[in-house]
Symmetry: C2
Subunit: 380 residues, 2 copies
Amino acid sequence: MTKQTPRVGVIGGGQLARMMTPPAINLGLQIKVLAEAAGSSAELATTMVGDYNQLDVVREFARTVDVITFDHEHVPLAVLRALEADGVNVQPPSKALAFAQNKLHMRQQLGELGLPMPAWAEIHDAASLDDFIAANGGVAILKTPIGGYDGKGVRVVRSSVDAKDWLENLADFGGSLLAEEKVDFVRELAQLSARTPGGEFKAWPLVETIQENGVCSAVMAPAPAASAETLAATADIAKRVAEALGVTGVLAVEMFEARDGRIVINELAMRPHNSGHFSIEGSVTSQFEQHLRAVLDLPLGSTAPRAAHSVMVNLLGVDDKNNFVQALDKALQSHPDAKVHTYGKGARAGRKMGHITVVSDSAEHALAEARGAAAVLLRG
Amino acid sequence: MTKQTPRVGVIGGGQLARMMTPPAINLGLQIKVLAEAAGSSAELATTMVGDYNQLDVVREFARTVDVITFDHEHVPLAVLRALEADGVNVQPPSKALAFAQNKLHMRQQLGELGLPMPAWAEIHDAASLDDFIAANGGVAILKTPIGGYDGKGVRVVRSSVDAKDWLENLADFGGSLLAEEKVDFVRELAQLSARTPGGEFKAWPLVETIQENGVCSAVMAPAPAASAETLAATADIAKRVAEALGVTGVLAVEMFEARDGRIVINELAMRPHNSGHFSIEGSVTSQFEQHLRAVLDLPLGSTAPRAAHSVMVNLLGVDDKNNFVQALDKALQSHPDAKVHTYGKGARAGRKMGHITVVSDSAEHALAEARGAAAVLLRG
């Protein structure tokens, strides 16, 4: 009997689906993408174009694959639950994704596990928000439980007045908001891991993420000067989160390292994540290959580093013209060690349009080279 | 002005076109494949299905891309010359491919350059073949100038009687045959390199290729115990060949290391080559990425190794059922460091259906792991 090639279906045609394509080709897995529109970033693997909010569309797509997974976290839970009721293999399952889609539920669940978090509270009105602000040094991070990313749906508030518009429309946000301590952090960290439906778990070494204006600009792998205790502790946090929430596939746990030494959980992403792009060149198994293996319940690959240091720098759009093709030759010429990744997306200021990874024996060299190549592409 | 993504057109839908796809995605290049049939190994990048022997088919395909390159060396020179007359950018150009397609012309050209080769002669009749055999220890390798690969079109002869059928049909082979010294070799080597139309040249470190029954079974990168002089000499041979023949893109020079110490040129391939598959994981720039960069006249990437040792083992078909999907989970489970590549081809005994690469600080460990993973997939 000839066994058929496993077929992975990815909902969403963004750069994450795009970057799942090379390992699918290498490993001989079939990848199919349901894209929002033609000409998406994952165009080569797109087999269907349609609206992921519509159950009949997603159902039709699901019939062509062995497992459904995701490029993003925006598929309505109702759609996913209906698929699961049909018997469709959805990884990560809706019960896990519910926590990724709702930051308040995530805090409640992780709180029950006793995992390290910033102080937080559910906010139903101005009074409870002002109380929280008063108890936390006169400032809070206020978040809409659903729909925020890359700085959207997040606001720094010093009084309930700063959140008047949100408080007056609480019903739009499910009836409440999430207030969090504004952590006085020395740096941001991310712990990448993967878990299979069968329960196998593997973590990559902890990384440091550098943000600019609320968007990730660079990632240092491994996180500079992290102790063995810290590495073990953060990998353990990821394992507890993945197991408790029933996460499958790649899980990114974003964390703050506070000035007082605490490491606390900021956000979760249940899919390959910007903090793990370094792993394409930097790890024996990339996060994209691992995600495919995990959602298919295949054994996970080694997460050992391929180099002492890997540095990733994001290519953020500078305007609506420069798609980073203009200066490609100049960048490759001046930085022969830089691995340039562009996502085939239309040019737009601030948009994540690509990234550069450099691996090296020296973190400083890798960062300088990656930023150097990025500068050439930005100026082109 | 927004510059458009460079578009590479590959003629042939085999595993080489398939393996060009991931670096095209990573680097943000558009790849289009003209495949012989639907469902080819390079299916994901296939934009047209048709016969590459027909000028009108190839012409139509050429209109959709910026440069034409190849998965194989079988496109008729007349077709390529007609494209070039149209103004199509063909890389490598027909004048270089003429030498890859005709082993006799290759020997003549390399002979004029004084490059190291086995003794050879053009054979027009039985008498000249018997003379050559007598002068070369009673044995010769007889080759049809055109069309041979993986042991086909090649024969060991000890008398013209052994080649009676070929000698009686010389017109089928262009009027003559190629006789070569049967080199008493201690091992086979391959020198991989790339050259751009603009003249930039880069070589990877020399590799050893291990053949079984005339087909490559494993590649050790770098070639064990090769001296610095040998590495420099073989890289120089590749550079002289590429420049003299006007080769662009990847060039593989297959060589014998003779017992008497000579290193002599066996065959040339003007495309990514089985001996370079290790470079996907083993080099900063893989042969597939480099080929795309070279044919687009983009600057070449670093060919530095990513690990002390890389070993590649071919997955040759065992029967018409096992497509290496059956035991994939077992292979991944038992060999978490092995990078498994399968080509999505139908099962057939002896067919190149995939390969495995392991990188390591130890060549012995890498070879054992790669062969171990292959054994699991073969037995599956």
